[in-house]
Amino acid sequence: MQQSNLKPQKGQIIIIAIVFFAILLGMSATLMGYISLYVKSGRQEVSRSQALHLAEAGIDKAMYQLNQNGGYSGESNTSLGNGTFTISVTDIDSATKKITATGYIPNATAPIATRTVSVHASLSSHVIAFHYGVQTGNGGFFMSGSGTTINGSVYANGNIQAQVITGSAVAANLPTATADQANDSPTTPPNSVIFANASATEDFAQSFQMSQSYSFNNIKFYIKKTGNPSNATVRILYDNNGAPGSAVSGLTGTLTASQVIASYGWVTVTLPTAPILTAGETYWLVIDASSNSSNYYTLAANANGYANGVGKIGKNGGTWNNTTPSGLDGYFQLYLGGQTSSISGGTIGTTSSDVAWAHTINNANVTGPIYCQTGSGNNSSCITSRADPDPQPMPLSDGNIQDWKDEALAGEPIEGDVNISSDTTLGPTKINGNVSITGGKILTVAGTIWITGTLKLTGGSAIQLAASYGPNDGVIITDSYVSLSGNSQFYGSGYPHSYPFLITTSSCPDDDYCSNNNAIGFGGGSGTVGLVAQNGTINISGGSALKAVTAKTLSMTGGSELIYDSGLVSAAFSSGPGGSWTFLAGTYVIVK
């Protein structure tokens, strides 16, 4: 065997390869590191964005939970999508909570990204001030019966007949009489209506609507006579499908024939101050005369000159026809208000700052000063230096009423009468019918309720606000009368100063449909409730304990007692169904 004797060569290719690959590896590592950093940065940014959205989702959930349960305090590590969130709810005050939500990606234990958002939630509300325990319109305020007491102050745009008022009592004059309605142009009347000359044309009627619910002062007619007709009676009648209906009790005056001459002139007919009619409703003023073909009246008229009514010719209690030509309106001027008001009787005030203030004050025992122009039988003399008080606007506007009705429309309407004979929760809803609560059962108001018919409580039944109202007040509004009898109970939401308010737009008992029922009749009961009937009469009897009452006319009898709550100066009503918790704009903060 031949032995090879080759000398090993000194090769370098392996070294070159190693160097080459080392450089390549280094470059690759650098590049991969850069790419990795870029990807990581991108992922981090996506995670931060996801965490922010999770935190906002937490805020939304907290808001939902608060509206299901006002005591909701938060939750921890709730999974959603790629992460989790934690919610904390703390009270700032009774109407405000702070919600803090933190979103974690992927979890709170080892988060890639964490974002925290905080907001404030509040019970939305609007504030309406009830400055007085009792405020009445020009119908006045009448107390009777031993022990009948107002624990608070009274402001009436009319007369006050007092028993015991622990605060001040103010009876304001009505504004100076002005022509609320008129049809009196052109000065030379283009048309005329002859009446009192025959049985079929014995009487004249003119429909009208008042712009304000003030007491009558007088009516003037632009009228002349032929021969020597008798005096005529001027009456105010309800409307009956476009024609004069039944008479409004007590509202009559006399057109004195001797004041009417053979040529046109304005003749005044004075009317009683009560009852007070409802603004915006159609009534008829009727000149009820006797007929004689030689002795009759001629009323100046024009064609469609009065927008709020029309003239009719006929016989009161009989048939009414259109004028000839049809559409004539008689010349008239309707004057409202202008009367001075008075306070009579009673014990008023408990401190020297409690005053009695009216144009006339008689037979009153007042702790503080008596401001009046005339008076007698009082425990001190009239201080005449202070001018008569001016009437105050009522606390609720038509807009407030409409807002509540709109809130009620947010819920499903209920058609027909509702008889509640077991504990029931309603609202927001509009009930097209009557509602009665019987047998001591409880209606829980979860949102504003609008009842187009009547509301009746009997047998110790109760109305209470749902807990979701928090510190706010809630409303049941009706378009007809309210009857509360048999120890009716009223409860707020459980928070201090939270009350149910029963509000009626009814003008009862002045309208046909009232069947002599007052707008609100409260025959006894307990609890915290506000009663409002700005167009009608509230009658309170039988030891009732109330918080605030506002009405056109108010009467309290039988030892009833009203306890005014100073919180009603700024009564906060829930805005929106159920007084829901809502995000308070301006409080969103990204904490981190």
Binding site: M1, Q2, Q3, S4, N5, L6, K7, I16, F20, I23, L24, M27, T30, L31, Y34, I35, L37, Y38, S41, G42, E45, R48, S49, K98, S118, V119, H120, A585, G586, T587, Y588, V589, I590, V591
Partner: protein, 189 residues
């Protein structure tokens, strides 16, 4: 057995030298090409990272402030310089916050996002009661375009702001661009 006699070489032949140099030239060329390609990829990745990161971070920063704003301010004076909201400038009013992260009522901070050439800045002016840190911060130096669009012709009544941001880096043969668009609602309005 015949024995082979080894001998000792004294140098490289010309052939060996030429071959060796040729091999090294090939290796160097490959290495140069590799480096050149790597350099292109590296620059490209760096540009992507820069323009994307710049746009994303700028968008995130603007989102952070828009969410907390209670209104788009028509204009505001920052140290005697007036900034007016428009297509390229956004001025926001923010409820001031205290050290606990709670709103300080009736106190406001103002922030302006504005451009200068390829740079995007955020300028923050704070109320004395605020816990935010005032000052100027550069959010991007690779801005190509930035357009703010409002949902109301009266800018300070806007509920949301649309942001269209585009960043750019110079690369051969063509520039690298990155574009982000986002609608952001003012939570505090």
């Amino acid at each position: 057995m015949k024995r082979l006699n080894a001998y000792v070489q004294q140098g490289f032949t010309i052939v060996e030298t030429v071959i060796t140099i040729s091999i090294f030239m090939v290796i160097l060329l490959a290495f140069f090409n590799l480096y050149s390609h790597y350099n292109n990829v590296f620059n490209s990745q760096q540009a992507i990272s820069k323009v994307a990161g710049s746009a994303t971070l700028a968008m995130s920063d603007m989102q952070n402030y828009i969410l907390q704003a209670d209104q788009v301010a028509s204009s505001h004076t920052f140290s005697s310089t007036v900034y007016t909201s428009g297509a390229n400038t956004l001025v926001l009013e923010l409820p001031a916050i205290n050290s606990s992260g709670d709103i300080v009522t009736e106190k406001f901070d103002y922030v302006a996002f504005y451009t200068s050439g390829a740079k995007l800045y955020r300028l923050l002016s704070t109320d004395a009661a605020s816990n935010r840190s005032p000052g100027l911060k550069q959010l991007s130096d690779s801005l190509s375009s930035l357009v703010f669009t409002y949902d109301n012709a009266t800018i300070n009544q806007s509920d949301k702001v649309d942001i269209d941001i585009q960043t750019q880096a110079q690369l051969k043969p063509q520039p690298m661009q990155y574009r982000l668009k986002q609608q952001i609602y003012l939570r505090n309005k």
